[in-house]
Amino acid sequence: MSQPVELPDQIYVGPVIDEGHSLASVSDKVGGIVLKRKTTLGWVFGLIVAFGLLQALMASATWLLIKGVGVWGINIPVGWGFAIINFVWWIGIGHAGTLISAILLLLNQSWRNAINRFAEAMTLFAVMCAGMFPVLHTGRPWLAYWLLPYPNTMALWPQFRSPLLWDVFAVTTYLTISAVFWFVGLIPDLATLRDSTRKPWQQKVFGMLSMGWRGSARHWQRYEKASLLLAGMATPLVVSVHTVVSFDFAVSMIPGWHTTIFPPYFVAGAIYSGFAMVLTLMIPVRKFYGLEDIITMRHLNNMAKVTLATALIVGYGYIMEAFFGYFSADVYERFMVWNRMTGPYAVFYYTLIFCNIITPQFLWAKRIRTSPGILWIISIIVNIGMWLERFVIVVTSLHRDFLPSSWGMYAPTIWDFGVFFGTIGLFLFLIFLFVRALPMITIFELRMLLPGARVKEPVAQ
């Protein structure tokens, strides 16, 4: 039962952790990045670049708050632009982390152990970036708290039929669960760091953060239980959050939005873009920190496979969208599909098809799945493609809807880009801080992967 299964060569790409690691060596390796490793010039440089981009967010958001959302390119009929595109994109990116940490945990996919911490951090930061947009995009952001159901002197509840309100619940729940899950998972590792470091201030900080973790059997038992519970709670979120986000569109009546396929299609897209983003971040991090022996080809290979699978679902979604547009025999639906393919924004549609359907087909080849450089480029193309997908959904549906007289065009302004790149800055800034200050890989779970550790399931599967 616990015998490793021999895989044929075409499929097998290596172990989840390279030979030669011991319990101590993984702790030293991962903990050492935080505790011993000198702050490199490359890290400082990266942090400065990210911080610079973050300033673009500050400047753009300040100008936005001073002048109003009119500084963006939105108009009537295209009332939503970059803000909502970015919101959906960031939320989607977050989904990989939750999938890896929750669903793969429940499915006992132990290869996830090396990447789940990083992916969860990514989720958290992506949701932070995403969460800013719904507030910033309102005309009167200082009143955005009216979307929260709180007792007030106006004796008014929010309007519960609105998907935007569901968004508020979905995103806040998502943020809370992700943060708690991430932090609970950190506790044993923080204790390891507390015990390893010699610097008193680090001992104090890690000591406080590890909340008195001593590693007793009772602690572990409770930890496992909490993990499972949180994983159980987070699992439906993987499906529900992006389903609710898709309702923003699907519940409306605009051709191109009003589509029942949106929930599964959005969830698949979210996981697709999330895995692509994990690859985008993981490949360089793995290289710079010399973690090739911990985040192995096996991981890249598995992630590439998930990416390919979700790409196929998304591709199916595109085909069905076009087919139903035709099959509905509805003049508005048909026109919407036609307009996407031949209208003024057709170039974005075809770029999206190229990025999201054509490019991932390379992942059928094992050689490509195991070449980090190519994989990295593909992952970036997929990220761009998924951003374009949201652009196509938001803009091409709105700009030509029912009455030809109100058709219009949308073009972003410098402030649209400012906020978008600004959130990328925020995201990268947080990632840089994270890899420097916290163990980016779950040390204790990594130990479980070692041949010497008692593991429930065969290591290589």
């Binding site: 002048k67 109003g68 959302v69 009119g70 500084v71 390119g73 939105i74 108009n75 009537i76 009929p77 009332g79 939503w80 995009h137 309102t138 005309g139 009167r140 952001p141 009143l143 955005a144 009216w146 979307l147 008014l156 509840w157 929010p158 309007q159 039929r161 609105s162 998907p163 935007l164 309100l165 508020v168 923003d248 519940v251 409306s252 009546m253 605009i254 003049v331 508005y332 026109f335 709105l398 030509r400 809807d401 029912f402 009455l403 030809p404 007289s405 109100s406 058709w407 219009g408 065009m409």
Partner: protein
Amino acid sequence: MSELNPSLNLESIRTKLDKAKGATYWRSLDELAAGDGFKEFLHREFPRQASEWIDDEGRRNFLKIMGASLALAGLSACTKQPTEFIMPYVDAPEQALPGKPLFYATAFPVRGIANPVLIEAHEFRPTKVEGNPEHPASMGSADVPTQASILGLYDPDRQQTVDFIGEVRSYASFLSNLIGILEKQRAKTGSGIRLLTETVTSPSLYAQIQEVLKLYPGAKWYQWEPTGHGSRMGAQLAYGQFLNTVYKFDQADVILSIDSNFLANGPGGVRYARDWAEKRSVRGGKKTQSRFYAVETTPTSTGSKADHRHGIQPSHVEGFARNLAAVLSGGTPSAATPPPPAAQKFFNALAKDLLANKGKSIVIAGEDQSPEVHALVHFINQTLGNIGTTVMLTASLEAKPVDQWADLNALLADLHSGQVDLLMILGGNPAFNAPHELNLRGALQMAKMRVRLGSHEDETSEVCQWNLPEAHTYEYWSDAPAYDGTISIIQPLIAPLYGGKSPHDLLAAFTETPELSSYQVVRQYWTAKHTGADFETFWRHAIHDGYVKGSALPAVTATAKLIAAGATSSDTSGLELSFHSDPYILDGRYSNNAWLQELPRPISRLTWDNAVILSEKTAADLGVKDEDKVSITHNGMTVHGAVWRVPGQPDGVAGLTLGFGRTRSGRAGNGAGFNVYPLRSASNPYFGQGAKVTKLGDTFKLAAVQHHFQMEGRDPVRTGSLDEFKQDPYFAQRKSETPNTGLTILPTTFKYEGYAWGMAIDLTSCTGCNACVVACQSENNIAVVGKEQVLNTREMHWIRIDRYYSGPADNPETYFQPVACVQCEDAPCEIVCPVAATETDSEGLNNMVYNRCVGTRYCSNNCPYKVRRFNFLLYTDWESESLKLQRNPDVTVRSRGVMEKCSYCVQRINYAKISAEKDDRKVRDGEIVPACAATCPSQAIMFGDLNDPKSRVSQWKADSLNYSLLGELNTRPRTTYLTDIRNPNPELKEL
């Protein structure tokens, strides 16, 4: 402030009121102005800050007293404070209740022709223009410039001071300067005095001018306006005398418009639109329509309503009219100007139709057409026996009709001879709009003293030494005739905001009685004119009603002669130019009115600019497309403009709009569009031939509000011919599937039990004139956003007139459709708003709660009609003090970040409901009229209670032509449309 003694003023008011016989007419402001006390009281009491701030003297006093009170503050402890009275409304003037608007009848003359109006005044502050329902020229409606006139009153760029060569002076110093000049002139019988006015129609002003000319026999009076020569001189050509023409479109079965925009502009446009629509609409089982042909050199909204429209080169218009005259009088078309083969069929069918409807047809020529065309049209109408039945001739409306070109040349000759010592320019803007080849601008400076009374510091002010602020029409007394000669006494609504002077004031300064006010001038004139017994009653009736009953000019008879063919030039080397005044800013006089600048032109849908209108083919021949800049060279002058292609524009003709390209107009008018006047030659100001149009290579952004003109097989506008309608009255409703209201998981169970407000819009009647858009803007405090924002499709108009084409691109059918919020019962906007800021109420109004809106714009995205408007930035002008006075106090002024949309004028609905409740009755049908419906000249909009089966709107909706826009979406809109029915000539079916 010593002059503010409220008790004294109140006393005088009370005595005035006591003396008044009956309370009926006192409120018509005559006494108010008669008694200085009351005037002062009004002025001081209500717009207190405004008057203090703007009135130069008052402000100085205020500062003085402020300074003094600061200095004396320390002494106040040992000084007895003066007794001051707070003025409560215990002694309120009758009916002046705060919050309750009063309506005053007056008139707004556009190019001398009175547009009778009622002005809504809140606490004596005019805020809104309505048509005067009792006046035959208005019947409750008002056209675009009249609706926008209220913004003209509060225009912050108006001339506010008396200037002498750039220095601020007092009016008294001007008068002393004038007296000095006049004393010298008196010695030489005033031979150095020249008076330049626009076309004078006011009888009392004319009497004043006569008086001045009597005092100074050597003085000369000239009139000049850049447009309107054609109709004036056309009558002179045809009849040998100046006559005015009045049309009766409700009597006409066949109408031919030769480049006329009679449904939108020109004298009587409002009444003509109503009469025309009455004959055209097929509501309530009516099965007849007039047939309407149009021949146009540039598409207009009027021509778009024609059953058959034919584009024609401007140089062919006269030949067309001449051929028509020949054929109708039994002759044959002239061989020299045969109609082109494509037009032959149109021409024959038209001639046949006209001959078959003798005495029941109208042929009307456009304002901007030449005298020859007008003369021919007079002859045609006479040949058809229309004179006296559908076309009435009356004496001219002008006080003294003259050939204004001759006047202009005489003035130029006088100026060049150096004999002009004093040139008085009353209104107008001759330095801008006279033909540039005459260089009037340069010649003006040859007058030794140039005095200008102008509303703005404009191109003409620039070359004058004395610039006096002209009072707005709503600030002084005057009189003017309507299109049929009915006289309106124009009463002021407010004391001059900027100390403006009226032409009456200025002319009085020339006479023995320089201190006469405009009120005294007008009243004295009518006292002398009045023949009946009781002048006071006559006067009060005239002012209260807004017009003098029975003062319409009687019909006269005259015989038109067929004018001989003149020399026709046939320069076919280049493009032809067709000149038209803009339908909104006219010849440029309202160029600084931001409402008018931002109002989309009916056909081009452009705002803030004019353009070189070309046909698709001509543009292709020239290698230009939309927004390409071109240079137009004609008459030795070159101007640069941007191209805009318009379907239906005749090939080889560039349509050009006058009035744009002002350089000294104000914040709205400066730099808007390009100036066409240089291209207009003095020898032929009606059109141009042989113009060279060359592509410049760069582009110029034009701000259009509609970018897509085809219906894409969606039938937002349903149309059909009269024959189709006769065969199957329900043909339009069969055009789409009826939504199954049961197919929903959330069936609407709500019953609208009280009132159920609804609206119906008759597309057959709608002429696309845009008056509703301005009326809505005025009523609902809708902000102007500027060209940059329009370019990003962020205009704020709550109602828009969609314009669609169908048929061949070179001569399409054009349809208009006003679209505002249709107030869906199942509103898509409503369910997506996260904060419940838009909700349907128990009467079916989809209410927008501004205070609750956080601005997610989700509602707008989900609105299939895209009628919601968002304050992307702070669009409302919070800075200009004068604009604050204009706003309707019953409507929230929206700030940034808030969605807004049509509310069916909910403030009017509630006003009526409150009044009804007080009387313990239901709101009567017709008691609530939204601003758009009230002003609609063709009465295409009907509003009322759908729960009342007898209400007119219920009857409209019961009509077989009624359909819902996008009804298949099951939004259950409360606004529905009545199919556009046209009456094409069966002989021209395949055209």
